[in-house]
């Protein structure tokens, strides 16, 4: 048996702000194939540490020769941000796999990011728009549950992962060995996406994210209800609601949530969405209905839920309009842009409300107001007094500890590898997985390689005739259990076949050799040989009822194919010698017979 190694290496967020803002990049070697999973960037750095260190993969030689393919799980920048750099600047020409929605939305995000980095911050040595385009040309889009043959041996298959539109888990399979990489996933459905699902594919290794390794979350219904109630109450009292969001993902969920609530409750208060990036993204959300949840999929024939009836595009001038309104504005942490502008306008009125739907990095306005600061220093020594209500709602789309366990339980892997989380938290989950699921679990540090031995199963072809013959001997219901089988294993041209021995001889052109054992048994018997033979015959006949015992005319006795002859040695007339002879195939019966005969014949009635 061969042992095959998995080399796994990854880079983790080093310090920095977010739990999930690290660079995700994992290299897997499976049965001689090298696959790179995700190609993320770190948002916290502006220098070389931003991108993964690709020189780690091969010191010398081209990446294209070393890597068989690259797989991107979803469009978040910490999972795909380094892709143009990797393919165009470092140089990789092999295939890149991702799902259709990811393929559509990924370039928009990359372009947006590039603009901010290059145009606003003026960075050099960054990828260009053309590079993004060239990079996307190398992408091969896959469907859910479609098995894609990368080459003769390597195949990949995508499973639904929730999290964001188009997020997928990938199964990578070579021969009988397989790895599942989850990317980011969500086990509880939300208003626009379903829950992650995987079949019992029993991979050798499951690589799972563990962002919320030590958290068990409350039901999403309370959160949703709280959110809706707050918005509704504020609007009813004539206040304005500002919801700072990132352009993609949660924004759509909240939109759907508010839209359906408005529809249900028959409300007329306007909802606005800041334009730009979001509009483009919404367009894709409308197109990829099969990737959304049950409700949207079922009702889109009547009305596409992303064709918002109540949500309109926002215009700068609207912020000064009197009366209640709800505005979604980017960016999510209130550090710049439209959301901050609106915030400054509305902060003075206690009727208004700002709802922070996500985490805020230290130093941003969002973080300050969340931690209770009421007086903010803005640029130009202005002091902004915040009178509006500040609310925090966590809408996160990662699986919690229970969800991770559930997924591991669904896939039934042999080994689990935790990535994308903090070491301390992972330690807890690792312990739980080993305790409760009895699956060995690994949590490699950045740049660490884990090697796992696997037991390789070798398929062997068997001829139908032989199979049927052997099947006929056994009973059926225990068919799953291993069974002993007689046959000849032929290894030829690197394939294995199991055939019956006759056929093997015929195929190989060999003559059959017969192996016979003979044995002498001395008996005390004074009678003639014929009589002795007769006695032996009657004795055996009486004992071996299930076998065919014959007395041949020449005085010998046969049991099946075993021959027994009685002879009288010349020197001692009192003893007779029985010659027993059997072939190799009848070894069992033959040895039984000799031991039987050695015990002697029963005393004959004289």
């Amino acid at each position: 048996m061969y042992g095959t190694g998995f080399g796994c290496l990854r880079w983790l967020a080093e310090g920095g702000a977010g739990q999930d803002v690290g660079r995700s990049c994992i290299l897997v070697s499976i049965a001689g194939k090298n696959v790179m999973l995700d190609c993320g960037m770190h948002m916290g750095f502006n220098d070389d540490r931003r991108f993964p260190d690709f020189s780690y993969i091969t010191q010398n030689g081209r990446l294209t020769d070393f890597l068989d393919c690259v797989i991107i799980s979803h469009f978040h920048l910490d999972h795909c941000g380094a892709l143009p750099y990797f393919s165009e600047m470092v140089g990789y020409d092999g295939p890149i796999y991702m799902t259709h929605p990811t393929q559509a939305i990924c370039p928009i995000l990359l372009e947006d990011y590039r603009k901010i980095a290059v145009d606003k911050k003026g960075e050099a040595n960054f990828f260009t728009s053309q590079m993004i385009k060239d990079c996307m040309k190398k992408v091969v889009a896959v469907h859910l549950h479609q098995t894609v043959q990368v080459d003769d041996e390597l195949e990949i298959k995508a499973y639904y992962a929730g999290h964001v539109l188009g997020a997928a888990m990938f199964q990578i399979k070579v021969g009988s060995e397989s790895v599942v990489y989850t990317g980011d996933y969500n086990m509880t459905p939300d208003r626009h996406l379903g829950a992650a699902w995987i079949d019992k594919c029993r991979p050798n290794l499951l690589i799972t994210e563990s962002t919320y390794a030590t958290t068990i979350r409350d039901s999403k219904r309370c959160r949703e209800r709280d959110f809706l109630k707050k918005v509704h109450e504020t609007v009813e009292h004539g206040g304005k609601v500002l919801i700072p969001v990132f352009a993609l993902g949660r924004a759509q969920e909240l939109c759907i949530l508010l839209e359906t609530f408005w529809e249900r409750m028959n409300l007329k208060v306007p909802i606005y969405f800041s334009t730009g990036l979001t509009e483009k993204a919404n367009h894709y959300y409308k197109l990829f209905i099969p990737w959304t949840n049950q409700k949207i999929r079922k009702t889109f024939v009547q009305r596409n839920m992303f064709e918002f009836k109540h949500i309109k595009a926002f215009d700068r001038a609207f912020a000064d309009n009197p009366g209640p309104m709800v505005v979604f504005a980017t960016p999510g942490m209130l550090h710049a842009g439209q959301s901050l502008q609106i915030f400054r306008k509305w902060a003075g009125n206690e009727k208004n409300m700002v709802i922070m739907p996500g985490y805020c990095v230290q130093g941003t306005v969002g973080h300050k107001i969340l931690s209770g600061q009421r007086k903010l220093e803005m640029e130009g020594r202005q002091v902004l007094e915040v009178k509006m209500q500040v609310e925090y709602m966590s809408f996160s789309a990662h699986a919690d500890a229970k969800g991770i366990m559930q997924l591991v339980g669904q896939a039934e892997p042999e080994n689990v590898l935790l990535v994308h989380g903090e070491a301390k938290k992972m330690e807890f989950l690792k312990q739980k997985i080993e305790q409760e699921l009895r699956v060995s679990c690994y949590m490699p540090a950045n740049g660490e390689t884990v090697t796992l031995p696997t037991s390789l199963s070798i398929p062997v072809g068997i001829s139908l005739g032989l199979l049927k013959r052997e099947m006929a001997q056994g009973l059926l219901p225990e068919a799953k259990k291993p069974r002993l089988l007689h046959g000849t294993l032929i290894m030829k041209d690197s394939n294995f076949r199991l055939v019956s021995s006759e056929q093997a001889l015929k195929e190989l052109g060999l003559a059959e050799h017969q192996l016979r054992f003979t044995c002498r048994v001395h008996l005390h018997d004074t009678r003639k040989e014929q009589e002795t033979a007769l006695r032996v015959y009657s004795h055996l006949k009486s004992i071996l009822k299930e076998h065919c015992v014959q007395h041949l005319p020449d005085g010998s006795v046969t049991v099946e194919s075993i021959l027994i002859q009685a002879a009288a040695p010349s020197e001692d007339p009192g003893t007779k010698v029985l010659l027993v002879s059997w072939t190799y195939q009848d070894e069992e019966l033959g040895s039984f017979l000799t031991s039987l005969l050695k015990k002697g014949l029963p005393q004959a009635p004289s």
């Binding site: 030590t214 068990i216 409350d218 209500q389 500890a401 229970k402 099947m471 799953k480």
Partner: protein
């Protein structure tokens, strides 16, 4: 244009010709019917190729076979079976054998030997499976014959080792349907050892094919369904199957575990990897709970559904299902539910939350946290959050059933149910509101929960709002703030959706009468009275003001101190509302006012028994009628009918019985009147005109009998006989009248024959009831039947006339529960003076909202009729989805009726009413000699007649000519 018209004419012409041809063709088919087996034989012999033979067989299978000729057909089929080489033809023959053996009136034991015989020699797996299926059909047809059952079981066991999953499937199915568990089966079939079927089936739980595994579990379930007690040993086997790779196996295994847990709830099973032991039902509950988070939604639905019916489970296991330990960064966190409860109990309620009040508190011991609970932990939390709404609905239903049986659980699950009011799918929301209503006896809503519940009142869906009103009718509220909140929200609802008026008033009526003490402190505020100043008198027509008054008056009923707080105009308004909305405003004991109705109301309750007695007595008096002289009889009948009608009005619970009997008596009265006419004695031709009364009576009796048969729910066979008998009498009367008024004998021949046929039908349908009809019209008629058959029409009529006069009045036995179907159209109210304007030729949609009481199967029977002023009538069939079922015996029809007409010069009224359609043959058992194939299904289900059962409502409409 002309050419086009010409073409049209030709087209139509050719169409007519084609239809005629078709008719001829169908006639031919009927002629060939009798010699079925022979035709089949000839056909099969003619067949040159297997495909041909298959075609013939398929054709043959389309038509049914009479019971007498089944055996012959079977012989021919078997003969061909032996000869046939093609497996597909053999398969078809085998399936035909199965079909034929199901024919009623045919005993299939004669073909069993042959079937088993061909089974032994069959090589094709598919044919084998089909043959086993046939054997199953035979076996189920002969449930009494032990020997055959055992033999079939034996055959099934032999083929269990077949390599094809299809054959094994069928064998297991056979075992499940026919096998028996008892070892002490009579050994009349010697040589066949009785087998332990459960053990044999259990062995196949570990078959290599998932389909066979499923079939094995299904067979086991089948055994259970047939009433055989399964052994507890299979519990462990079934538990292993819960982790099967295939969803259908897991789904079936969940069912099996449920079955075992219901059979042996109290036996003790060990918990693996510990020394503890628990009750089997608890263990099974835990296992099924675990399946609520299965990978396949089919299994999840199945598991969630079954949880609801496990009522014997211990309460702490039950309460675990709602438990979910939250944590954040390894620190224990409280759920939003817990926080809300705490806020509430600390007196501080929804005061705007600070950020971080959900911050995790104490550290969690890492060792103690169980991420995958073995038990029931959080099953419902998962089920209610599931991705698929099917699972969520199933979970809500299960929650409802469990909460109904356990008050403490009901209290706990409240938070979760309230959460479900915000589900994204309306069905789920509706279901959870209904659930809440069902368990509302056990619960009291906290203020924060009430807040969430009331928020849903703004929902744009009418169903949701009405369900919520119903829920509020029977909720317990704990504080006066709660009542106030509810009132405010309901009034808000009223202004937003004025159509909900009635429903809101009704809701407030119950809310008031349930919480008089909570309403009392609110009264001054609600009536805006002031200790010193007189306030303006509110507008009496304001629905919101009426709503407030309804709440207060109903509370005042049981709270005698309340009227002291009323101001003068409130008393005036009370008097007005008591008259105009008497169903919403109760009688109050007001100071200084006489209470008229209070003396009456207690006496009615105590009189319940006497009124029943009165009913019985008056009916008995009538049934002794035949001895009285006709004049007296008529009078007595008239009085009794009047009495009964009045009784029905007074006593709503006896209304059904009273109406039913009154209708019957009215029929009898009409019959007597018709027969008493002096005109009968005079020669026929002279009285053409005058016989109107008799024929009208006959017609009316017919109508009334249809009403009796179809408008009442709970009519039993006993009554149907009497009703049909009455109808037969009416038909006889009709025949006599026609005989006297028509000249010429030709039409009479046909009528006589038809009538005699009907008598014959009557005899056949009600053969078992005939002994009860002593001395009746039919009884006498049947005695005279041989004479009637041979005599001429004139003679028949004469005989009928005398029999009709001499026949006794049949006693109508009263059914246990009888209710008259009724309908009230709520909307359109018919009050509007503004005509509904629309362009002629186009359609206008009219919203119709009606409540139906005691209508069986309203989806098929209730129709809407629109009568236009020009006499044009239109019948509209509402969609099945337009009917809601808010309670037992009650239905609600909310539909849209499309009106259209050509232009009118001025607005006019159309009448809208509801009809109950009936089909008299539907109630009668289908006669076996009428073959299903001959009568097309459309004819069978067609409407025979309609009974209007609601007051018509007039709607003002105005079709305008289209503007050019």
């Amino acid at each position: 244009m002309a050419a086009h018209l010409k073409k049209r004419v030709y087209e139509e012409f050719t169409k007519v010709v084609q239809q005629q041809q078709e008719e001829i063709a169908t006639k031919k088919l009927r002629l060939t019917k009798p010699s079925k087996s022979a035709a089949l034989h000839i056909d099969l012999c003619k067949a040159t190729s297997p495909a041909d033979a298959l075609q013939y067989l398929l054709q043959f299978a389309r038509k049914p076979v009479e019971a007498e000729s089944v055996e012959g057909v079977v012989r021919i089929l078997l003969e061909h079976y032996y000869k046939e080489n093609d497996p597909s033809v053999r398969l078809k023959i085998a399936s035909l054998l199965g079909l034929l053996s199901k024919t009623t009136g045919f005993s299939p034991d004669c073909i069993m030997d042959d079937a088993i015989n061909i089974l032994q020699n069959e090589k094709s797996h598919q044919v084998l499976a089909q043959l086993l299926d046939t054997l199953l059909a035979i076996g189920t047809k002969l449930p009494e014959n032990q020997a055959i059952q055992m033999r079939l079981v034996d055959v099934a066991c032999q083929h269990l080792t077949d390599t094809s999953h299809g054959v094994r499937n069928k064998c297991l199915q056979l075992l499940g349907n026919l096998g028996s568990l008892e070892k002490s089966v009579t050994k009349d079939a010697e040589g066949l050892a009785t087998r332990d079927v459960q053990k044999i089936i259990g062995d196949y739980f570990s078959d290599q094919d998932p389909r066979v595994r499923t079939a094995a579990i299904k067979a086991m379930l089948q055994l259970h369904e047939r009433g055989l007690k399964l052994h507890q040993t299979i519990y462990n086997q079934a538990c292993k199957l819960l982790s099967d790779d295939y969803e259908q196996v897991r789904s079936a295994a969940v069912q099996l575990i449920w079955v075992v847990s219901q059979l042996y709830p109290e036996s003790i099973v060990p918990i693996p990897s510990s020394n503890e032991e628990i009750r089997l039902v608890d263990d099974a509950f835990g296992k099924i709970c675990h399946m609520v988070s299965d990978g396949s939604w089919v299994v999840r639905v199945q598991a969630a559904k079954l949880l609801g019916s496990m009522e014997q489970v211990s309460s702490h296991f039950l309460e675990q299902t709602l438990d979910k330990k939250l944590m954040s960064d390894l620190r224990r966190k409280r759920t939003a539910h817990e926080r809300a409860k705490e806020l509430y109990s600390s007196g501080e309620f929804s005061s705007g939350r600070k950020w971080g009040d959900d911050a995790p508190k104490e550290e969690v011991d890492t060792g103690a946290v169980n991420l995958i609970e073995s038990g029931a932990c959080g099953a419902f939390v998962h089920g209610l959050e599931d991705e698929m709404y099917e699972v969520r609905i199933a979970a809500v239903e299960a929650l409802c059933m469990l909460a109904q049986s356990s008050p403490s659980f009901a209290e706990k699950c409240l938070d979760f149910l309230v959460d479900m009011f915000n589900d994204e799918i309306e069905e789920v929301r509706l279901q959870s509101i209904h659930t809440m209503r069902k368990i509302s006896n056990n619960i009291t809503l906290r203020e924060d929960q009430l807040d969430t519940v009331l928020a849903v009142l703004e929902d744009s869906s009418r169903d949701i709002r009405e369900a919520l009103h119903e829920l509020l009718c029977c909720t317990n509220v704990s504080t006066k703030e709660g009542i106030h909140l509810a009132l405010v929200e309901l009034l808000k609802n009223l202004t937003k959706y004025p159509t909900d008026r009635d429903s809101i008033w009704k809701c407030l009526k119950f809310l008031g009468s349930r919480h008089p003490t909570l309403v009392l402190p609110l009264v001054p505020e609600l009536l805006s009275t002031h200790p010193f100043f007189d306030t303006a008198e509110p507008d009496m027509d304001d629905p919101a003001y009426i709503a407030v008054l309804v709440l207060i008056f109903n509370a005042a009923k049981t709270c005698p101190t309340m009227p002291a707080l009323f101001s003068d105009h409130t008393f005036r308004h009370y008097a007005y509302l008591r008259d105009s909305l008497s169903h919403l405003v109760p009688a109050l004991r007001l100071p200084g006012r006489k209470l008229v109705s209070s003396a009456v109301s207690p006496s009615i309750i105590s009189q319940e028994d006497p009124s029943q007695q009165f009913l019985q007595q008056s009916l008995e008096r009538v049934y002794s009628l035949q001895h009285l002289d006709p004049q007296g009889a008529q009078e007595l009948l008239e009085f009794t009918i009047r009495d009964l009608q009045r009784l029905g009005e007074l006593q709503s619970e006896l209304a059904g019985v009273a109406d039913f009997s009154a209708t019957y008596l009215r029929c009898q009265l009409l019959l007597i009147k018709a027969l008493q006419e002096k005109l009968w004695n005079v020669a026929a031709p002279l009285y053409l005109k005058q016989s109107d009364l008799a024929s009208a009576a006959a017609k009316q009796i017919m109508e009334e009998t249809y009403k009796m048969e179809f408008m009442y729910s709970g009519v039993e066979n006993k009554q149907v006989v009497i009703i049909h008998h009455m109808r037969l009498q009416a038909k006889a009367l009709q025949l006599i009248v026609t005989a006297r008024t028509t000249r010429g004998l030709d039409p009479l021949f046909g009528m006589c024959e038809k009538f005699l046929q009907e008598v014959d039908f009557f005899q056949r349908y009600f053969i078992t009831d005939l002994p009860h009809l002593q001395d009746s019209f039919v009884d006498k008629l049947l005695d005279l039947m041989p004479r009637l058959m041979t005599s001429k029409p004139a003679e028949v009529v004469k005989i009928l006339q005398t029999t009709l006069r001499q026949s006794a009045f049949l006693h109508l036995p009263l059914p246990e529960q009888i209710h008259k179907a009724s309908a009230t159209i709520i909307e359109p109210a018919g009050e509007s003076d503004n005509p509904l304007r629309f362009t002629s030729g186009l359609v206008v949609a009219l919203d119709v909202d009606a409540t139906l009481e005691h209508v069986q199967d309203p989806q098929n029977t209730v129709k809407v009729q629109v009568l236009y002023p020009d006499g044009q009538a239109q019948m509209i069939h509402p969609k099945p989805a337009d009917f809601r079922n808010p309670g037992p015996g009650r239905h609600r029809l909310i539909t849209q009726v499309y009106l259209s007409h050509t232009a009118w010069t001025e607005p006019c009224q159309v009448e809208v009413r509801l009809l109950l359609s009936y089909n008299s043959s539907a109630r009668i058992p289908k006669c076996p000699w009428m073959e299903g194939g001959e009568v097309s299904p459309q004819v069978e289900t067609s409407i025979e007649g309609t009974i209007p059962f609601s007051k018509p409502v007039k709607v003002y409409i105005m079709p305008k000519p289209a503007r050019r």
